[in-house]
């Protein structure tokens, strides 16, 4: 019993120095506490709390990069829809990203694409996670 | 679409029997008061209908929910044990036009009416009953909340 308590406590009180079980857990905890643009160490290495999409969106703002990001985001959205786990705001983000691209606002377009891509990646992740976890919600 | 069509149809068929209305005996009851219904404050609406401010009375009872399920359809019932009630009116203080409805109660009809009203937001709802000896009222606050699930 004590063991379980301390495990849960560790999970709940995770901080930069306390090791979580996996990188994802550590990342999520850090992101949750500090938001983006924060650095932390995990098993001796240094990482930032930025999502991969945010890292991509930080690339130089130009037409080629903005176009590429938008295409990536659209492809990711298609994947989310394929597993039936699209999110409602994604479509609007994509169309705003498209408009910003046309208007030459590359930085804005890239940030919108990044958000759309993140939503879609999470939708797909949600699909996979749900396959494993849905039964936990069934009353017995 | 269908709503409008059946309404139009009713209007059309209604035209044929509208003449009958003229033949029906009319009693002297308060007509639809433009000044009262279009008034934008409760004072103005009451002023258009009554000569004096209604006084609160325990003999007027109003049934209205504490929290409205949906502001678009709020059931309200008004009842009075006062003698000789000739009119019942319902006011929603915070509506754009506070007077919601006014009922003429001829002799032989009970002072007990129910209807459903719209409320834009949380407001004091007041029922006013008219008798030979003046106006009497009851009021209560009805909360209008934002629903949890839009759907």
């Amino acid at each position: 019993m004590n063991k379980t308590i301390s495990l849960v406590a560790a999970l709940m009180m995770v901080s930069g120095s306390v090791a979580a079980q996996t990188f994802d857990e550590a990342f999520n905890a850090q992101r949750g506490m500090n938001g983006k643009g924060h650095s932390f160490t995990f098993e001796g290495k240094s990482y930032t709390t930025d999502h991969p999409e945010e890292v991509a969106a930080a690339a130089p703002a130009n037409a080629a990069n903005a176009k590429q990001l938008l295409a990536d985001a659209k492809a990711q959205y298609a994947k989310a829809l394929e597993v039936d786990f699209g999110w409602t705001l994604t479509k609007g983000l994509l169309s705003s990203a498209n408009k910003a691209l046309d208007a030459g606002e590359f930085r804005k377009s890239m940030e919108l694409s990044a958000r759309a891509q993140y939503h879609s990646r999470m939708g797909v992740a949600q699909y996979h996670q749900s396959q494993q976890e849905w039964l936990m919600a069934v009353p017995n | 679409m269908m709503n409008r069509r059946s309404v139009l149809k009713a209007v059309f068929t209604g035209g044929l029997v509208a003449g009958m209305g003229v033949l029906m005996p009319r009693v002297a009851l308060a007509a639809w008061s433009k000044a009262a219904f279009q008034a934008e404050s409760q004072e103005a609406a009451m002023g258009a209908l009554y000569s004096a401010e209604p006084s609160a009375s325990a003999q007027v009872t109003m049934k209205a929910p504490d929290i409205a399920e949906n502001g678009a359809v709020v059931p309200v019932s008004v009842k009075s044990s006062l003698a000789g009630v000739t009119s019942i009116a319902i006011f929603v203080a915070n509506n754009p036009q506070p007077l919601a409805a006014q009922f003429n109660i001829p002799e032989g009809t009970m002072a007990d009416v129910s209807c459903r009203i719209r409320m834009g937001k949380t407001s004091q709802v007041t029922a006013v009953v008219t008798t030979a000896s003046g106006e009497f009222s009851a009021s209560k606050e009805v909360k209008v909340t934002i629903g949890g699930c839009g759907g």
């Binding site: 019993m1 379980t4 308590i5 495990l7 849960v8 406590a9 709940m12 829809l81 039936d84 786990f85 699209g86 999110w87 409602t88 705001l89 994604t90 479509k91 939503h119 999470m122 949600q126 996670q129 749900s130 976890e133 849905w134 039964l135 936990m136 919600a137 069934v138 009353p139 017995n140 | 269908m2 929910p65 504490d66 929290i67 409205a68 399920e69 949906n70 678009a72 359809v73 709020v74 059931p75 019932s77 129910s114 459903r116 909340t145 934002i146 629903g147 949890g148 699930c149 839009g150 759907g151």
Partner: protein, 286 residues
């Protein structure tokens, strides 16, 4: 401090318990037991709201929320769906161009049969809801399909429900095909969707005693017995699949196709959960 500790212990126990359960039952075709699921859901609600009789759950949220119930009873004095039932009856009895009518497509000429839907159709290999049976009937007689969410289809469905009031829901799961559809619906019900990461069950089972702003969510037991519903919010009558779409986009998920396989299976599961309760549709809701 002590309080926090015991809270943590509780949380860890719950976590462990649900994982153990997940490992064992109800998520495969071999282990899923619809009747056990139904009884488990009933007992869940009976434990949570011991004062509410099971039969009362057909009234949805009004079984639990006294303040709302009073207003609803006022509305039911002269419910707004009466016009729709009337129009549904006219539509139902209007012959198609070929001279046939809806009555020719259904058992007992379509009267008093709501409780048998949705049903597993072996020849089509899928769940057929009442609304999809209505459209199949139209197509078989050379008529165009009706839109799924509101208008005529909801009115016809409302009339058919009205003629079936007080009949007891009796959804059958005759074979493995039906069982697979049931399981799929069950999984959908408990699967988190959308940006808010919520499942049907989050609100309508586990969250059934938690306010969402000022509202309690309707309990999952008896959830579908009163459809189609006239929602004051809509200002008109709508089908169950219209409501599903609304729920799914409320949690910021792209909603699934009305009368598609997924939602039909979900309806199949949910209606099975209400087996033994009576048809009381159409209903009036806030």
């Amino acid at each position: 401090m002590k309080i926090i500790k015991s809270l943590l212990a509780g949380a860890s126990l719950a976590l462990v318990a649900s994982i153990t359960q997940a490992a064992t039952s109800g998520n495969t075709l071999a282990s899923v037991d619809p009747e056990a699921d139904r009884l488990a859901l009933q007992s869940f609600f009976q434990k949570r709201f011991p004062q509410v009789p099971v039969d009362d759950y057909v009234n949805g949220i009004y079984a639990l929320d006294a303040g709302s119930r009073e207003q609803w009873e006022e509305i039911e004095e002269f419910p707004p769906y009466e016009f729709d039932v009337e129009e549904g009856e006219v539509l139902f009895n209007t012959p198609f161009a070929n001279g046939k009518s809806y009555a020719d497509c259904f058992a007992n000429e379509g009267v008093g049969i709501r409780q048998n839907f949705p049903r597993w159709d072996e020849s089509q290999g899928k769940v057929v809801t009442l609304e999809s049976a209505i459209n199949q009937c139209r197509e078989a007689n050379g008529e165009k399909k009706l839109g799924w969410k509101k208008g005529k289809i909801a009115q016809i469905s409302a009339y058919m429900a009205y003629t079936s009031r007080d009949n007891v829901f009796d959804v059958q799961i005759p074979n493995d095909g039906a069982k697979a559809a049931y399981l799929d619906g069950k999984q959908s019900f408990y699967t988190r969707r959308g940006q808010l990461n919520m499942s049907c069950a989050n609100c309508h089972v586990a969250g059934s005693n938690v306010l969402i702003r000022a509202d309690l969510p309707g309990p999952a037991l008896g959830h579908v017995t009163h459809f189609p519903v006239f929602r004051s919010k809509w200002g008109n009558l709508g089908t169950l699949h219209r409501r599903y779409a609304g729920c799914q986009s409320n949690v910021r998920g792209v909603s699934q196709k009305a009368q598609g396989e997924k939602l039909s299976n979900l309806e199949f599961f949910q209606t099975y959960m209400s087996n033994g309760l009576v048809v009381n549709g159409p209903g009036a809701r806030k």
